[in-house]
Symmetry: C2
């Protein structure tokens, strides 16, 4: 019973994180029907094992740690140069994008960076997010005191950019001034993408209005349609306005290994109250050197192996497997008469609820009648109502079985 | 050149983190004298390889990740139960302390937790730190806007509790009201400890004044003197007022592997502006589930092995090695006529500068005359002036050689 003042904003957050709430409901169902063969197409977690190129690299790294000659203590907070250079070469230079190794920050995952980036901005920043949206962007801003109050229309200080069927799930540009715009493409949860032309509109907007885009491209590895941008830095002028977040979680199955990275270009600046400018790269480096001690050496060696020829081809095979599952699911939805978006350049399908069902009701129907776990779209924001998200991350057999069950939904 | 408002507090921070500045000076020395056999007793990083029990466990964990049957995706944000239970049993129950696995939060390291814990407290919290102090406590509070302005006496909104020779390096209780008290024992940088009686005074103070103690016991494994508390929870009533931070970095050489944990007892509360109470455990859990995705599975398996009988005895042997080095260094300092504190229950020695030298001058003398890297005490706060810190973390041979050089310092 201390009198120590806490961060009041925590009291504003609704009780439970979407995925925990869904998890609890699924757990109750499993308890009630212990023999049901439940298939999870819910939380976006991978199921395929780590590829051999990566596990071999990690075994060698464990050996390094076991011997006095090759042991490594504290690594650089920003990440080892061997990995930063591999990223600069493999993900950027190789695609004609100019990003230096000194602009890349390795971390234990994109979720950490997307949450922690909040530290470097003012509490007064006006934030825009797409709707529906990955809840971390919103919740981390609630904690920072930037969201205002929760209303039936969402948080009253957050600008929502609705992504609806009427606009092909493409967000409109903000109509009121904002300082930070979160974009995630390929999108979680809708599975849709932005063309280079559409993304350029956002970059141009940010340049004109002098705001910053926080670009989450955690799913870029799933893009197969030619011309769809994998990095915001493919767009002219993006270096002046964008921070990019990347993850090995979905690209290479690292959800349990933990590694991601963030690109903060030199020259990107923000404004102090007195009008002076600070380099965002420099203050992010300062934040990381003070509150972070680098990602694990073993995991960084594993991530480095993602960029070897063997690593690349092994990972591409895994992604092709997941995307085969996405196509199966999409075909099954079509066969069942369900309008379905995404699933072509992303491992997520955004399925419109049939007439008479809202997100929660359709989630329950899929669970209770087909023993399939989905994620209710309403959990991702007001415009997510009327949809559920399905993921293609389950095993080949489970995804195929789920597709068979969905194809038969017409009987309902 | 965006107009996005940044966190102005970053502009308050002096240019460079202590250890980076020292590193730059040492780099210049090495460049000028490439043949000098420089021995680093500076930054507190370990040098001994990871013990076999831990590397074997990590190899098995890599194997788990390589196979579809045993692959693990996202782990619990709070950490795997296998590790939390091992900690609850090994570090607490085994010592008669009641800490539940649900009160333990696994992370990628104590530095992250010590920095991020700031998120759950109000910006208005009044902070007390010992002086000298591990810079992360101060710098993370500067970033949060709790430190005020930097003056020649330190930050004007931080309460410093001086630890000087006159009081045996024991901090006095705060004389003005505070909300958060950071304590680190065994202490970094002084290497001194608090007796149970002295620590109880702080716990009693916090209970009476309803404030919170943030207790960093990253170096507890180095305690050998009977009766010196390893955990603040050995003290009656501490569960009501203390959060404890622990690390595998020094205990088991995990500086490059990255794992630590934080204990937030159920029942610990803080106050909202409207007078309502929030459970600190619950809001820390909420913070972690939103901005963190758990520590690496492979590293958690390694940490679990620290608690096996083989792990324990292997690690104790490494710590005994380091502490043998600390005794050698201490004896050498005594022989050189240098007043030296710590080094008995901690891997750090706090060496008083000889007459006529301040921290920086003595640091340079050790570097330029003995080719020994120390850390200037002034970098740890105003009361650190007049001391340098030496660490016992170098190899046996290097530490012994450094001791020989120091023993001969009398000729200066």
């Amino acid at each position: 019973m201390s009198n120590t003042p806490v961060n009041d904003n925590f009291a504003l957050l609704p009780d439970s994180y979407l995925f925990s709430a869904v998890g609890a409901e699924v757990a109750r169902f499993r308890d009630s029907y212990p023999d049901a063969r439940v298939i999870s197409l819910g939380i976006g977690d991978v199921t395929r094992p780590i590829v051999p190129a990566v596990t071999q690299a990690m075994r060698r790294a464990v050996d390094d740690m076991a011997s006095a000659e090759t042991f490594r203590g504290y690594g650089p907070e920003q990440g080892y140069m061997f990995l930063r250079q591999a990223i600069a070469d493999g993900d950027y230079a190789g695609r004609g994008i100019e990003i230096g190794a000194d602009e890349i920050f390795i971390s234990d995952g994109a979720k950490s960076d997307l949450g922690n980036i909040s530290d470097i901005f003012s509490r007064d920043c006006r934030v825009a997010v797409t709707d529906p949206v990955y809840p971390v962007y919103v919740d981390s801003n609630v904690m920072a005191g930037r969201a205002g109050q929760l209303t039936s229309q969402g948080w009253n200080r957050i600008t929502y950019l609705p992504c609806t069927e009427a606009t092909d799930f493409i967000p409109r540009l903000p109509e009121t001034p904002v300082d930070l715009i979160y974009l995630c493409y390929p999108n979680n949860p809708t599975g849709t993408v932005l063309s280079a032309a559409r993304l350029k509109e956002f970059v141009d907007y940010a340049r004109e209005h002098k705001c910053i885009i926080l670009y989450d491209s955690a799913y870029e590895a799933f893009i197969s349609t030619p011309g769809v941008p994998r990095s915001i830095y493919e767009i002219e002028g993006a270096r002046e306005v964008a921070i990019e977040f990347r993850s090995f979680s979905k690209t290479a199955g690292f959800t349990g290994l933990r590694c991601g990275y963030t690109v903060v270009p030199r020259g990107l600046t923000g404004k102090c109250a007195d009008g002076s400018m600070l380099s965002l790269r420099d203050i992010w480096l300062r934040r990381q050197t003070t509150k972070f001690n680098g990602a694990s050496y073993i995991i960084q060696r594993g991530a480095e192996a993602v960029y070897t020829p063997e690593g690349r081809s092994q990972i591409q095979a895994v992604i092709a497997d997941y995307m085969r599952g996405a196509r199966l699911l999409k075909a099954a939805c079509v066969q069942a008469g369900l309008k379905t978006f995404g699933g072509t350049d992303a491992p997520y399908l955004w399925v419109k609820c049939p007439q008479g069902y809202d997100s929660q009701a359709f989630f329950r129907l899929l669970l209770e009648r087909l023993c399939i776990v989905s994620t209710p779209g309403s959990g991702f924001g007001p415009a997510g109502e009327g949809y559920v998200r399905l993921t293609a991350f389950n095993t080949e057999a489970a995804t195929a079985e789920a597709a068979r069950r969905i194809a038969a939904i017409g009987v309902l």
